[in-house]
Symmetry: C2
Subunit: 176 residues, 2 copies
């Protein structure tokens, strides 16, 4: 069975997942920790994570490694994994289709696809099954966009939308 | 009382209001005419319309002029109004703030701000009070974007979100 890709990410209303320098202040300042935005329920249905070098290097800056699922980092330049992440992280220089085939041979059914560039390349390859996008009530005007160019339209099916008192609006779409 | 600006527009999930050539096939093919997406209720609360040259020239191509409200076209190049629109359309070469002051002196309270470039320039000038954005379930990958650069973050307040069986999702945001 092929591995399916799933996105769970937050953007500004104008579609940015981070400022140009990578900062998330605009999102963190709007996050109400008493609200359940569904990340735990989402991640509980995944069995592996795929990210690019940029996202990997960002999460390496946090004091703790907070992923319990195996992580595949797709990179053409990264060579080595920090010692404390041996057995938790694999680095591979693979295009999206080959990466998903690699995960399938390992028995992974559902991959959390994280990071702007990786999400864009997996969308271009039609390897995303669901997109859960949480929109923060702010326009940034510039930053790192969630979406990029595509070889053709990608039709979607709207699944659910939830609104939160904080002003966050979360919709899930399935690729048609 | 200053005139307030209000946006009511549809975009693809990746934020485009039209393809690069201006076509709307991706939206029209997803429009279910049996659904009430609220345009009539919205326009009933407006008392004038502001658009740019591009939008004006687009609507001129329709067989009938379907606006009942007075229309102000902001353009530095347009000079003349077609005879059949005399008394219905005014052309002015004014920046957003001056345009709104002009409308206020004419007693207009609420202006429907339409067209990508005009919406962006009015957002930059903080002359928009509400944004109602209807998201169509499709990624286009390229086109004319709704949003553009801004001099600073524009914080928003989420007001309402409606979902439709067709897959359209409509949210209204108020500038904070």
């Amino acid at each position: 069975m092929p591995t399916t890709g799933h996105v769970f990410i937050a953007t500004s209303l104008d579609g940015f997942i981070a400022r140009s320098d990578g900062t998330l202040d605009w999102l963190l300042s709007r996050d109400d920790p008493t609200e359940d935005h569904g990340y735990d329920a989402f991640i509980a249905t995944m069995d592996c994570i795929v990210m690019g070098r940029g996202t990997f290097e960002s999460v390496l800056q946090f004091p703790d490694w907070h992923y319990t699922l195996p992580v595949l980092v797709l990179s053409s330049t990264l060579q080595t994994i920090p010692d404390h992440l041996q057995g938790k992280v694999t680095i591979a220089n693979l295009p999206p289709t080959d990466a998903m085939q690699h995960l399938a041979t390992q028995g992974h059914d559902r991959a959390y696809i994280d990071g702007g560039q990786i999400i864009q390349s997996f969308l271009r390859a039609r390897l995303i099954e669901t997109l859960t996008i949480t929109t923060a009530p702010v326009l940034l005007g510039a930053g790192r966009p969630l979406f990029g160019t595509l070889p053709a339209d990608v039709p979607l099916i709207h699944e659910t939308t939830k609104t939160f008192p904080s002003g966050l609006v979360q919709s899930t779409w399935r690729l048609a």
